[in-house]
Subunit: 510 residues, 2 copies
């Protein structure tokens, strides 16, 4: 019998008309039900008379389906399969969890540590294979990638495939998709899925010479529906409506962006994450709108994550906190130290960051756009940070600055947290000391508990036990706890970019 | 004949009553005139029946004086002297120049590169001599220093001298100053003057166990007048009404601070610079008040200097942009790299910074308070920056961000200057690239001129000619100048914390 793992992909394949314009003329969908819930994904034409309806079963058990179409040969087809337990490594799709964080459908927390390769799927087999090999080694669990190819400095190569049929003069027909283009793209999405990497799919972008940025609204909507029909069944899909949507406002006014969100809400049966990315911080999309599941931001001042959390009440991902590299543009030439520093700032303040690398290359293969191999130094440190968060953040960090029970007395809490950056979850605290290098830190912690204190060198990627003294009283360079809590003096090596991890001990250690 | 150099000190010494309370009972002043202007400094009682009136001649030529007193033996005394040209190194007192900058009275620009040794004059001969020796080597030209001794962590030693007479039980008499205390203090001010260092004299501060912070208002006013009578004739005096005045607001309400400024306006014949320093940025004194000559700020976010300039329209000195060191407090534990970085940010944005050093020391000799020797690394880099500014800033820098004729086209100017920091004066440009490390920068400069481009490594303290190409047209990673100006491509080594100096060539070099 037909078995599909939970959050895997089931595909109904049908043969239908090739004549006319199947993309235009044929409507197709299917109702999938397990008796408790019914989901209705659209089908799509895949060329050569082949029609497909893709489905991601969301619960175990027996599922049946029946197709719906305006063409009799595609209508009323039925079938069934059994959804079985997911295989190891398949945690299901990611959604919002704990207001400001994310989690997989199986309950596993998901902490977003993403990178950016805008046009990696348009570089040909060799380079794309190299990119996948790199991603397998690096510890990123999300990648921002455009559906359409990219025209931009260091991005002048012609893509191997085009999204629409083109005549011999290169004129495309917006009413006819090129199935090979999308087959290739979704192959890459599937390979990312196999690597455990979320595909943050950028649907529109302004860096274009093929006309993809200037399609009419109807073509935009048709393209978006086609994309959803093809890709929504991939559990690792996130929808990013645009990169720098505000550079597209002249041809796509705000109502159109709202309508794109509405199409996703109507057409994606699985409610994949939805966001939109801006260039100019003064033209931020209104992320409070209900279609937006999480806030995607481009901003260099990552300390503002605390305000963004308050403003939007949603997870914050600063997907462009600027890239490590050496190009002319300021957004692409921060040092590895600074990239690492910004990641630590945003993560300890309860947000998430996006990595990118823009080192000039003799063949213009810059990771941020084409992939290939990583040349920088921050990606390793970001992986190190991810491990620390996965080891202890228990669903996500809340900024210490927002806590009533801060480690520093309230009178000094605000003052401390404009310098240091810290986040906690229960009895787990992660404090990043940023450009500060105290050789001692005083902290207040509830009495009657035992703690383990570790010093983390964010650059050297080491974790060592801290030298800690529980003091009697308060030294003259400290402040007494207003609640009478004991003061701990934590010795530090006195260098910048350290972090301090505090965990309550649950074992029997004295 | 009696000759005094311009901006030197002339002293009228008189003998008068010792009985009663000379500090209280005797009024004394003198009118000094050169026939064009009359200045009337107060005299003061210096103990042992000696009364002094100190005067700083502000113009060359013959000066005469006549004393005024409520005591006949001190009244109506006359004399004369000739004011001659200043000796080398004597540029006169500093005042505000070019709205946002400073200059000496002889026209020489003064760029403030200050340090902080709050209580260095209360440490005894040996350490004070060492501090002076250190200052002679370092390249600071201003020092923040308190009149009163300091009680604070790492500052527990008793001062050698007290400001007021004390009985055997240690109870002081606020109506009787201790001349030895002030003689010592002004000796140090004079020695700083000889080193070319401005004494930024902090008149009140809250770190106290002797009662100096809690005097009644009348005693405060009397103390301030006495200080002015003694010290105003030192050309290197700046008046800083307080360190962290807002921590003193409970005992000295705002009207009292206003009154302090008024006393300085009334009593200082030379109009020395006047400022006031705050702790909490939300309790900033209203620096727009006319008594305030320049803005003294404590703030870690030095990029705000651009806003402060706009808000106050006066010179901005961030005298506590935080100290290099390793103490527990965040204000005293930034790295040398960060201290240097903040200096470059504020100076290239048209402001001035204040240095301090707070490295823990086995005998609690922290430079920021007691002086001694410098242990850090930023002071050398700050001296290096001072040299660059003195070599080229021609009276002071204006932020490129505020310029209409920016080096980057207006559409991108704001965007660039939130990352880089740059200042210019005429054809001198100094651009600090901060945490950015582009290997190329594109700039627009007026045609028909020749320029010299230098790359400055702010940490290594090197200056080298940049590799520059004047381009035909605009490369695809650049933007065309809206005014048709030529694009220069400047090659850089691709590391952070570099600066770029651009000077118009006036010579014959090709």
């Amino acid at each position: 019998m037909n078995e599909i793992e939970q959050w895997g992909r089931y595909e109904v394949v049908l043969t239908g008309p090739e004549g006319g314009n199947p993309f235009f003329d044929v409507q197709l969908s299917a109702e999938f039900t397990d008796g408790h819930q019914t989901l209705t994904p659209d089908g799509f034409y895949d060329g050569g008379g082949v029609y497909r309806i893709r489905f991601m079963p969301v619960s175990p058990g027996k599922w049946t389906y029946v197709t719906r179409s305006n063409r009799p040969e595609l209508d009323g087809q039925t079938g069934e399969f059994t959804c079985v337990k997911p295989s190891p490594g398949n945690h299901g799709p990611v959604s919002v969890r704990n207001t400001f964080h994310f989690g997989y459908a199986d309950g596993t927390p998901y902490y977003s540590f993403g990178t950016t390769c805008y046009a990696w799927t348009h570089q040909g087999e060799e380079l794309e294979a190299q990119t996948l090999a790199t991603l397998q080694q690096a510890r990123f669990n999300k990648i921002r990638m455009c559906v359409f190819p990219k025209h931009y400095p260091w991005n002048h190569n012609e893509p191997p495939l085009y999204a629409f049929e083109r005549d011999s003069a290169g004129v495309h027909d917006l009413t006819r998709f090129n199935p090979a283009f999308f087959q290739h793209f979704e192959q890459r999405v599937g390979q990312l899925c196999d690597l455990g990497i979320e595909a943050d799919i950028i649907i529109f972008h302004p860096y274009d010479r093929w006309g993809y940025a200037e399609m009419d609204a109807e073509s935009d909507y048709r393209y978006l529906r086609y994309l959803v029909a093809r890709l929504a069944a991939y559990r690792n899909v996130w929808w990013s409506l645009a990169n720098e949507y505000d550079f597209l406002l002249e041809t796509k006014p705000m109502e159109q962006w709202d309508q794109f969100f509405q199409i996703l809400l109507d057409k994606d049966p699985y409610n994949h994450l939805r966001s939109i990315h801006q260039a100019d911080a003064s033209r931020m999309y209104d992320h409070t709108k209900p279609g937006v599941t999480h806030v995607c931001i481009q901003h260099s001042n990552v300390r503002q994550v605390i305000e963004w959390r308050r403003t939007y009440g949603k997870p914050i991902v600063d997907d462009e906190l600027e890239y490590e590299g050496n190009v002319t543009y300021p957004w692409g030439c921060i040092s590895a130290e600074e990239e690492t520093h910004r990641f630590w700032l945003i993560v300890t303040n309860g947000g998430y960051g996006g990595h990118g690398e823009t080192y000039l290359h003799p063949d213009d293969i810059l990771w941020w756009s084409k992939g290939g191999v990583l040349h920088g130094e921050s990606w390793k440190r970001i992986g190190f940070l991810r491990q620390i968060i996965e080891d202890g953040a228990a669903g996500g960090l809340t900024p210490e600055a927002d806590a009533n029970n801060g480690l520093f007395p309230s009178r000094f809490g605000h003052w401390m947290w404009t310098r240091f950056a810290g986040g906690f979850n229960g009895d787990f605290h992660l404090i990043y000391l940023a450009e500060y290098q105290p050789c001692k830190v005083l902290l207040w912690l509830p009495p009657d508990d035992a703690y383990q204190f570790d010093v983390i060198d964010t650059w050297e990627m080491t974790i060592s036990p801290a030298q800690v003294r529980r003091l009697d009283g308060t030294p003259d360079y400290g402040y007494p706890s207003p609640d009478g809590e004991p003061t701990y003096e934590i010795g530090l090596p006195g260098k910048p970019h350290l972090a301090l991890r505090i965990r309550k001990q649950t074992g029997t250690a004295g």
